[in-house]
């Protein structure tokens, strides 16, 4: 065995960095994430747009798209497993591998996290760089501060199929509303009757006339975000895509919890918060 071979066996040289590129092409990536992409031996990319892949190729000539692993009618978990294996194969060769994921690599994405777990399990260095998610864009574009009323975020189908509950004194955000009810994880759209049963479920907490917002972050620099106000009941007739998010403002005002105040020896007028 040669010296270099011994070294290779002792220290695991490969690494995996899951990098978040932000929502908006080119501008929203963090300084540190951009640096990781430029220094990687190979960059695997899951981007919402081929233009975004072209942009990555300008930062690093060795970009491999993960997009072809998806397929209509193909079970998504199968696609994910293939993506993870493709990246891990490179890590095991001892290369510096970057996974570039749009938005935040750890939000509504299992591939980056599972690849990190696997890489660490096998003794490689693996980290995630946070990024600007659709949620972060929503706060900036609509002007919502999650600290003011509080906020709840759910994947729309999960909310529909499981017994989650809502607090209608805080904002509610329903992600992936455009594929709500798509229970097979093989398709990329919903149906009006599925949206209707979703609206019916929401009517446990909100009147059908409640004003809600459909939001889509801008992905290209020339785009404007979609910020569309509509009534909850009009949702089934409205066009939505895989990137549409439903924002539901609170329906009632905050009320002081008198019980808690008494226990703390405070009166309502003592509370400076609003």
């Amino acid at each position: 065995m040669t010296m270099s071979n011994t070294n290779r066996n002792l220290s695991k040289e490969g690494e995996f960095i899951a990098v978040s590129t932000g929502m908006n092409l080119g501008g929203q990536i963090s300084v540190i994430a951009k640096d990781y992409i430029q220094k990687a031996d190979i960059v695997f990319a899951l981007m919402p747009h081929t233009l975004a892949e072209r942009w990555l190729e300008r930062l690093n000539p060795n970009v491999v798209s993960l997009q072809p692993y998806y397929g209509v009618g193909k079970y998504r978990m199968q696609s994910y497993e293939e993506m993870i294996e493709a990246m891990m194969d490179e890590v095991r060769k001892g290369t510096r591998v970057c996974g570039a994921f749009y938005g935040h690599a750890g939000v509504f994405a299992c591939v980056p996290r599972l690849t990190i777990d696997k890489a660490r399990e096998e003794g490689f260095r693996a980290i995630m760089e946070p990024g600007i998610s659709a949620e972060a864009c929503l706060y900036a574009d609509i002007g919502i501060d999650p600290g003011v009323h509080g906020i709840q975020g759910y994947e729309a189908s999960q909310f529909l199929f499981y017994n989650q509950s809502l607090n209608n004194a805080a904002y509610a955000i329903m992600w992936q509303i455009g594929i709500v009810g798509e229970h097979t994880a093989t398709q990329f759209e919903t149906r009006p009757e599925w949206v209707e049963s979703f609206v019916e479920r929401l009517e446990e907490w909100y009147p059908s006339s409640h004003e809600v917002i459909l939001y889509e972050a801008a992905v290209l620099p020339i785009e404007m975000p979609r910020i569309e106000y509509l009534k909850l009941k009009d949702l089934p007739n409205t066009e939505m895509s895989t990137k549409t998010t439903l924002v539901i403002p609170p329906i009632r005002n905050l009320e002081l919890n008198i019980d808690v105040l008494e226990k703390m020896g405070l009166k309502p007028e003592d509370i400076a918060h609003g």
């Binding site: 932000g22 929502m23 990536i29 540190i32 978990m77 600007i132 706060y139 906020i151 709840q152 499981y162």
Partner: protein, 266 residues
């Protein structure tokens, strides 16, 4: 539409010094005539001074005993004064400029109302860091997020099947908005309140994001009933994992004509 000269951009600098800022936010800082900043460490102010032409700190407007709302209003008027002079003004706020921050939103509202170009550049918040550092995907169970004192004083009902994140836990129960700390007694009352939904031995995590490269991420997991013994700072966040398992909503499945086993794992 013609806009007046003078503009305001609320820029998010992210949590980690110099690394988290977005490429576009960085270029906004470089191009601005004046950068007003609210960042948690003097080292970050020094970094901003290397990047920007002119930097003014908003930190000195805070004072113990002064109502925080008064401080925020002074920040807004200080920045608006310079916008009205026709300058290109940046407000540099750490984390995400629109998250747990009143002044950036309000300055944008005022500037737009007066006919100036004003907008916010999104950024990497403490929440974004938390998801990366703790490996929590908000898509898995859902996430609820509240300012801890608001959660305590107002009638918010949590869903203990989803994650609950409580911000500014180091200030919980501080009702005057004038002090920058809380007491053990108040933390105890807060824990008692949480026990309406969570057992005393429920494991919770105290999280602090990395701000300087020398900082370590804090992720201390403790029992809920031991929280009062922990050191809680201004930057500490409490993460409460679900206490109950998700159950399938049979009624909704009937509508779809499917059974629980037909819902694909995501």
């Amino acid at each position: 539409m013609s806009k007046k000269s003078g503009q305001f951009v609320a820029v998010s600098t992210g949590m980690l010094l110099a690394g988290h800022i977005s490429v576009r936010s960085l270029s906004e800082l470089k191009n601005a005539d004046v950068v007003f900043c609210l960042v948690p460490h003097p080292v970050i102010e020094e970094w901003l001074k290397q990047v920007a032409k002119k930097v003014v700190s908003l930190q000195s407007l805070y004072a113990e005993g002064k109502h925080r709302m008064d401080t925020y209003e002074e920040m807004v008027s200080m920045m608006m004064k310079v916008v009205r002079l026709g300058k290109s003004v940046c407000g540099a706020f750490y984390g995400h400029a629109g998250v747990f921050a009143w002044a950036p939103h309000e300055t944008i509202r005022q500037a737009q109302a007066e006919g100036y170009h004003a907008y916010m550049e999104a950024g990497i918040s403490a929440e974004a860091c938390l998801y990366a550092d703790l490996g929590i995907d908000p898509g898995n169970f859902g996430v609820q997020s509240y300012e801890a004192s608001q959660f305590l004083f107002f009638n918010h009902t949590p869903n203990n099947k989803a994650y609950l994140i409580l911000w500014q836990i180091g200030l919980v129960g501080e009702h005057t908005a004038k002090k920058l700390s809380t007491t053990k007694n108040r933390i105890r009352k807060f824990v008692e309140y949480l026990m309406k939904w969570y057992p005393p031995n429920h494991e919770v995590t105290i999280y602090e994001a990395q701000v300087l490269p020398i900082d370590k991420v804090r992720k201390d997991t403790v029992r809920l009933d031991e929280l009062e013994q922990e050191e809680l700072k201004l930057i500490s966040t409490l993460v409460i994992p679900p206490a109950e398992k998700l159950t399938v909503n049979e009624e909704n499945l009937k509508v779809y004509g499917i059974t629980a086993s037909e819902i694909a794992k995501r």
